[in-house]
Amino acid sequence: MQEEIIISGFGGQGTLFAGQLLSYAAMEEGFHVTWIPSYGPEMRGGKARCTVIVSDVEIGSPLVRRPSAAIVLNLPSMEAFEPAIKPGGTLVVNRSLIPLQSERDDIRVIYASATDMAIELGNVRLANVICLGALVQATSVVPVTAIERALDNHLPERHRKLLGINKEALHKGVELANG
């Protein structure tokens, strides 16, 4: 088993943190995992992207040109990664910010109005966790409970009060993938 997942959006959308949650969950499930961000000169609101690879064997390349799954939180990310996903792969689209339909018929596409749903839940910054819930449910890369445990253990101290709505957001995403 190997899943290569790209999570991409603007800085502040929590792409790197969503990738870390997935990485903690994968590690605690006993998988090999790598998390690698794209990095560059620091700019508020600049592009933010990470690649997470989860595998049952030792991971060589931490980067892939064609991921097996992706979460795209903004339009430039959609344009960059929608065409790249391997056939049979999964794409989670933040419909709130991406007014496009995927043209791929060889992948599973899940549309989530994640930013709007996050605002409804009370915090715009939960869009990442909603999308992660959808991705995890759709790919079964790790059990949803492993992400919950990762939230329990790794949500930064200053955000502890948001643990409840983070889990709520995660399950909203799971429901989207089920629906």
Binding site: M27, V33, G40, I59, G60, S61
Partner: protein, 356 residues
Amino acid sequence: MAKELWEGNAAIAEAAIRAGLEAFYGYPITPQTEVLEHLSHRMIELGRVFLQAESEVASINMVYGAACTGVRVMTSSSSPGISLMQEGLSYIACSEVPAVVCNIMRGGPGLGNVQPAQGDYFQAVKSAGHGDYHMIVLAPSNVQEAIDLMVLAFDLADKYRTIAMLVADGAIGQMMEPAEMPPLRPLRKPEERGEWALTGARGREPNTITSLYLGAENLEVVNLRLQEKLRQIEANEVRWKEYDTEDAELLLVAFGTVGRICQTAVREARAKGVKVGLLRPVTLWPFPSARLAELAGQVQGMLVVEMNAGQMLQDVRLAVEGRCPIEFYGRMGGVIPLPDDILPELHKLEAAVGAG
């Protein structure tokens, strides 16, 4: 200790602490800054010395000063900063005091960019500063190995009273992987410092640490001693990793991040029936030349892959001495070659040498 998810730079910093780091002097530069940031709070918490210097020039000379007193000391930087340290490195090498330096390499030349690169191979392996010397150069390809080599760097620096440099690129510095930290070693006691160290001439003749030897013959004697030490290091400390080389007809040679990317290329090529193996040097100096020469008798060709224009390539050629064809694939400027890029090059080599 259980595995934890560690970012490469933080892991390198923490591993240095576990190895008994007593003092860190450094300057911020991307993509290395997290090493400095991690140490800025951990060293203070532990009551050890941390100082953000005014420049890399000052950093390496602070390291030199502390090293003269026999403490475990390091600095870290990224390519342009290492260039600024070259003077100090040369003085440290000639003075024969132990020091550890970490270079999280970025794209160059010049200000270049902050993306991962391996353009400092020549600098690390062949020209760390003026004069005749080499540093021990350790090149991890994953976070666990970065931790293990960081600890080894201190032990080797002490053992040979030399500079040990960890060279990783920005990808290893920035990525996160599960890894296990070694336990915290007790700090060296003042009385355990070398007899050569500047600790105050109490009840003994004064010690002097210098890199100045006036008179050609005097300096030649020093150089001969340094060379003898380097031969010992070459005899004892060559390290490398091999993957699928037993029956290999083709060999990939790559280090650091590219080394691990080539592991994937080997796996994918093997799935298509190509009998390819990988040799990944772990010490860039001393270089695993003897093993490469041996493999040159076994394989029909080699492909060297680097994130530079072909620097380690020269050492592979020197090791192989024409015994088999050697091809090269390199990317520069911070571009990371991926398995998809390497496989076609491998197929080209396969076709050229008629393997399989």
